[in-house]
Point group: C2
Chain length 152, copies 2
DNA sequence: TCGATATTTGGATTCATTCCAAAAACCCAC
DNA sequence: GTGGGTTTTTGGAATGAATCCAAATATCGA
């Protein structure tokens, strides 16, 4: 299910933290890579159960937390909604379509990122930036081939 | 407590939605304006009780929701932490000091905002942007006089 | 002042997430 | 390969911010 290249990445990154590459962790990481649509823990749970009916919700939460901790996955929050998970490690923004609920990855070029950092007064040392757009996205057409990729 | 000018704003904005300017709403709006430090509902509740010991937490939540609905106050979320409230209506970003927990308002110039919008592919119509920095801020000195204003 | 309407209130409820302690899986040394 | 120390998984209980509810109050125009 999970590609050998990612398999290696997973094992390595986990190993670096003294953690094991378990069947559950592989499954969940694989699911996130396979369908890069920013699912919630519950959605991941539903998908995981299809492959491994015995998996528990607690394990899904544990695995996701572990993957985030190893920087294999990022978490995304919109307002107070359930946390979503994203395997796109590029520095990117998110667009949340309030009509459909879909989440889109938005690439950020270095130029814009650099510009953005200039808003911080001296003494502010950012370790991360989070940029979330909220609005409506026109029905996808040739969009998937552009820089933004559809997601649920 | 609340300045007459803000009093008017409050009554007007509420009135536009067919809502009443109650004692509780005035108090809470006044508290947010007075100490612009992005307090949580609980913190607002604690402050409110000092002025009005009979006020209930439910009312604080109700009032905050109403103020947000009337665009008199904005809400800010960091990760999964309790929602914070901000009376700064300028389009601005936030800096969350993960060491101290303090939240700083960061002004955004139109130039940067315009640049930021260019990252969106055609068809994406943003109705709001949310920009949150997370990191550490050097101990305040002459910072308060700059564009970023300290907050808890 | 009266009555219709809006608001407040305390308590119960929700629900995503975290915690817990027992069972299972893993891995290395022997 | 087996045993034993360690990690991980698991189901269920607990947490806590936020929401819901229905009864009591307050508000405001007529
Ligand atoms: Mn990319
Ligand atoms: Mn300003
Ligand atoms: Zn993403
Ligand atoms: Zn603010």
């Amino acid at each position: 299910m999970i590609q050998p290249e990612h398999q290696t990445t997973l094992t390595e990154k986990l190993g670096q933290s003294g953690l094991r590459a378990t069947r559950q962790r592989e499954l969940i990481y694989g699911l996130l890579l396979e369908q890069r649509d920013h699912p919630t823990a519950d959605e991941v749970y539903a998908r995981a159960k299809q492959e491994m009916p015995s998996i528990s919700l607690a394990t899904v939460y544990n695995c996701l937390e572990t993957l985030v901790g190893c920087h294999l996955v990022k978490q995304v929050n919109f307002e107070r909604q359930p946390t979503r998970f994203c395997p796109n490690l590029h520095e990117h923004a998110h667009f949340h379509d309030e009509k459909t609920g879909r989440v889109y990855d938005i690439d950020l070029d270095d130029r814009t990122l650099a510009k953005l950092r200039t808003v911080l007064p001296e003494g502010f040392e950012p370790r991360a930036v989070e940029i979330n757009f909220r609005g409506v996205a026109a029905p996808a057409k040739k969009r998937a081939t552009r820089s933004a990729t559809a997601a649920r």
